[in-house]
Amino acid sequence: MAYLIDRRLNGKNKSAVNRQRFIQRHREQIRKSVQDSLRNRSITNIDGGEKVSIPRRDTDEPSFRHGRGGKVTHVLPGNREFVPGDTVPRPPSGGGGAGRGASPNSEGLDDFVFEISQQEFLDFLFEDMALPNLTKRQLTGIEEFKTRRAGFSPVGTPNNIDVPRSMRAATSRRIALTAGKRRQLRELETQLASLGDGEDSFTRERRADLAARIVELQRRIERVSFIDDFDIRYRRYEKVPVPRSQAVMFCLMDVSGSMDQGTKDLAKRFFLLLYLFLSRNYDKIEVVFIRHHTSAKEVDEEEFFYSRETGGTVVSSALQLMRNIIETRYPPSLWNIYGAQASDGDNWPDDNGHCIELMQQLIPQVQYYAYIEIAAAGEHPLWQTYGAIRPRFADRFAMQHITGPADIYPVFHELFRKQQP
């Protein structure tokens, strides 16, 4: 009477579409939540998703319901102390006592909190942005191969035998080789049938002759082998080169005495965003951290953001180092190079000319170079210096001011806004 069915192998993500609809519907709130969460992330820590919270009233599904008030009688279990006629003070609303324990109001107005995956997180973050100059060196990179199915072949190894194809070949061969014989067989059989069962010697002889020929034909049909070596078909694979795109991102930061921890934090957030953004466009990204005061040094992430230095500022030292590193490790023909520089705008006055010189050599080599000045808008030396050469490289050199955490995302958004074609 009953059917037992094992459904465990069926798909389990039946709700994926509905979940997507929910996220789609609340994208504005989620985007806001995503942007808020940026300040707590480490630069290369992009594992895992992100907790997102949406004000509960935005997700409510309203219906006609009774509000509080009116005359209601409740029936409750577990009486220990009451007798009829007792009066008790009204318990505070939403409390676990007598009253609206099951009321929808007592859930409180917490936010609706849930997790989105890393992919969803990044989708929200970079929704309408694009990398400029992406086409040029997109496909450069070390060539790798991957195997791909490519039809069938009559030669191969036994593990690659394709049974249906082989059987098909065998069947068609059998049909082709026996067609003539089977036609003859049918003719003989009709003749045999048309002879009737006359018992005269001629008919009998004729019948025996026909029967013998039929047997002989059947034997020859059967002799055609069921499967033959050349029926076997093998799955064929071929190697195709996989274009891999790779990029290197240079983070340049001034760590002279004038840059305090707060300023560095702002820079860090900007670098983080850039890293996340690049990682969506490239298979492989390397990050080079260069910090400088009067001289430049390549360091690791920890040291880059957290060690303190003092002294003056010579920007050209960092640019020179970046150029050297590109020459030795990242030939521009193989790498997509991105530069991001953060500074408070100070520079040694005599150095500005040297900077311009270096930048003119550097910028043609990079895909994009962004200069972020973390200071109130004004005519700082470096801004002026860069401002002078910017018009010449308008498509790949950008400059922006950042004054506080709130600016970072808008500035970033502005830098990488999708260009109208």
């Binding site: 009477m1 009953a2 059917y3 037992l4 069915i5 094992d6 459904r7 465990r8 069926n10 389990k12 993500n13 039946k14 709700s15 579409v17 509905n18 979940r19 997507q20 609809r21 929910f22 996220i23 789609q24 519907r25 409510d60 599904e61 309203p62 219906s63 006609f64 319901r65 009774h66 509000g67 509080r68 008030g69 009116g70 005359k71 209601v72 009688t73 409740h74 029936v75 409750l76 279990p77 577990g78 009486n79 220990r80 009451f82 009829p84 006629g85 007792d86 009066t87 008790v88 003070p89 009204r90 676990g96 006592g97 007598a98 009253g99 324990g101 099951a102 609706f112 909190v113 849930f114």
Partner: protein, 509 residues
């Protein structure tokens, strides 16, 4: 008559289940259930994983459903709670269909699977097949077909008119779902092909009707002599808001009407379940208890099995007292199980009190009595008829009167001879959906004027509406209707509150 049966051996061997064991359980339970006269649809038992159970939760247990963000929201909620360990998943979900589909979780132990088969596949199943509400309102044979039809129809609409346009209609319908049921008329369930064919017919026909209603050219002939002021539409107040909108909304496209209809049908299908929560769970719990006891008596289960089973059973029917932090209303399993158990007790070992309260069943055949109770009642009437003084005493029920005008609450009845009747009546009233949901009906449509739709809320016990939600719901209603919508709350024949959408500006200028 037959040869003596061989000495039975317990079916269970440890806590792991296999399909062979499930089949054994199912067969034995079916035999016992037949002896007890349980009449069921054929069973289709499906074993699913916890992820699949989460999916099933999200779409209100429907095996197939159209896509909507609210199901996604429910899924995210349930998944969140489950992952953090706030929520244990149900052991089973059972669907009122023919064959009756029951989902069992793979994580269940062998004992639990037996409990669940008895509970869902024989308890709930027989309830679905025999309770009068289900017999009148739902057609178990066609629901899956209808779900398939609905899903396909809505997907087609999404392709043709865009997801957003469809979502707008669905959102609006969902807010009115509770008011999209006929409480008295009997619906006619039909099959999928039939539904598809009729849907096309309906589209054309309905539009014609609506056009007729909203015709602005004066009717010709003798009708023209009828004074316009006399035309009242609708002639009678309408309780089924979605039905009224489907048939009469002036500006709706045919496909939008069909979506309204689909939501309305779902609501109607689920309506009996909402009215019989206590009975349905009580009945299923009563039977898993009785059937597994019987299995033990027949020697088909071991002592360990029984210990584990009783532990689960006790958890299921636990009722925290009103002042416990775990209290969240009366547990329908507890109440339903207690009443059915007590019916059996009254039949088998009646006391003087029982003879006084239940003269017609005291001492009669208990099997007949419980079947009668299951078939002919819903929660409200069931409690009113069968809540016995003993159950009231056992649960220590008491009634509290809460008047928002007073500062304190009044204890009006407890479990003593003066209180039984009152507690019974009050508890029954709490299960009356007509009382617990606001009574809102279509009152009037201004068909010759601005086409405004007026609803009336008849206040029960002077309970007001939840203000914030009202304005939201009215927005959705306005969306469907296309013209102004008004709602009046009426108490003792007087209008005490007005709500409008779009909101009416101060009428000073």
């Amino acid at each position: 008559m037959n040869a003596p049966p061989p000495v039975p051996t317990p079916i269970d061997q440890g806590s792991e289940w296999t399909f062979a064991i499930l089949e054994d359980y199912e067969r034995e339970i079916a035999l016992i259930a037949r002896d007890f006269g349980l009449d069921t649809y054929p069973n289709q038992i499906e074993v699913i994983s916890s992820e699949q159970m989460l999916d099933a939760y999200a779409s209100s247990g429907m095996p197939i459903n159209y896509h909507h963000w609210s199901f996604g929201k429910r899924f995210i909620q349930v998944e969140n709670q489950y992952r953090r360990g706030y929520l244990g998943l149900a052991y089973e979900i059972v669907i009122n269909s023919n064959p009756c589909i029951a989902y069992l979780m793979e994580e269940n132990t062998s004992t639990l699977q037996a409990l669940v088969i008895a509970h869902a596949c024989y308890g709930h199943n027989s309830f679905f097949k025999n309770n009068y509400l289900f017999r009148t309102w739902t057609d178990a044979g066609s629901i899956i077909d209808y779900l398939v039809f609905a899903r396909k129809f809505i997907r087609d609409c999404e392709e043709r008119h865009g997801i957003e346009a469809v979502e707008t209609v669905l959102d609006a319908c969902h807010t009115l779902m509770d008011h999209g049921v006929d409480r008295y008329k009997r619906p006619y369930p039909i099959s999928m092909e039939e539904e598809e064919r009729r849907q096309l017919e309906r589209e054309a026909h309905l539009q014609r009707q609506v056009n007729d209603l909203w015709r602005t050219i004066p009717p010709s002939g003798k009708d023209a002599s009828q004074p316009e002021a006399d035309i009242r539409f609708p002639a009678e107040p309408q309780e089924n808001l979605l039905y009224f909108i489907e048939k009469n909304a002036p500006l709706m496209e045919p496909w939008q009407r069909e979506i309204v209809r689909i939501v309305r049908k779902f609501s109607q299908y689920l309506y009996p379940q909402r009215q019989t929560k206590v009975m349905n769970e009580g009945w299923a719990t009563f039977w898993h208890f009785t059937i597994l006891q019987q299995m033990y008596k027949k020697g088909l289960s071991s002592d360990g099995f029984m210990m584990e089973f009783l532990q689960h059973h006790t958890n299921v029917i636990y009722q925290p007292p009103y002042d416990s932090p775990y209290y969240s209303g009366i547990n329908p399993y507890t109440l339903g199980f207690a009443i059915f158990q007590d019916i059996r007790r009254i039949c088998e070992a009646p006391t003087d009190e029982d003879r006084l309260w239940f003269p017609d069943i005291a001492g009669s055949d208990w099997l007949e009595a419980v079947h009668f109770a299951m078939e002919n009642f819903k929660d409200e009437s069931f409690v009113l008829q069968y809540l016995s003084p003993k159950v009231i005493r056992d649960l220590k029920l008491f009634a509290v009167f809460d008047d928002s005008d007073a500062d304190t609450l009044h204890i009006t009845a407890i479990h003593n001879s003066h209180g039984y009747q009152l507690i019974r009546e009050q508890l029954a009233a709490l299960y009356n959906l007509g009382d617990t949901q606001p009574n809102i009906q279509i009152h009037r449509v201004d068909i010759r004027g601005d086409r405004a739709l007026t609803l009336r809320h008849d206040m029960h016990n002077s309970r007001p509406l939840e203000e914030q939600e009202v304005s939201e719901v009215l927005k959705h209603l306005h969306q469907l209707w296309g013209f102004d919508v008004h709602l009046e709350s009426v108490m003792n024949g007087e209008v005490v509150a007005h709500y409008h959408c779009p909101p009416v500006a101060a009428e000073t200028d």
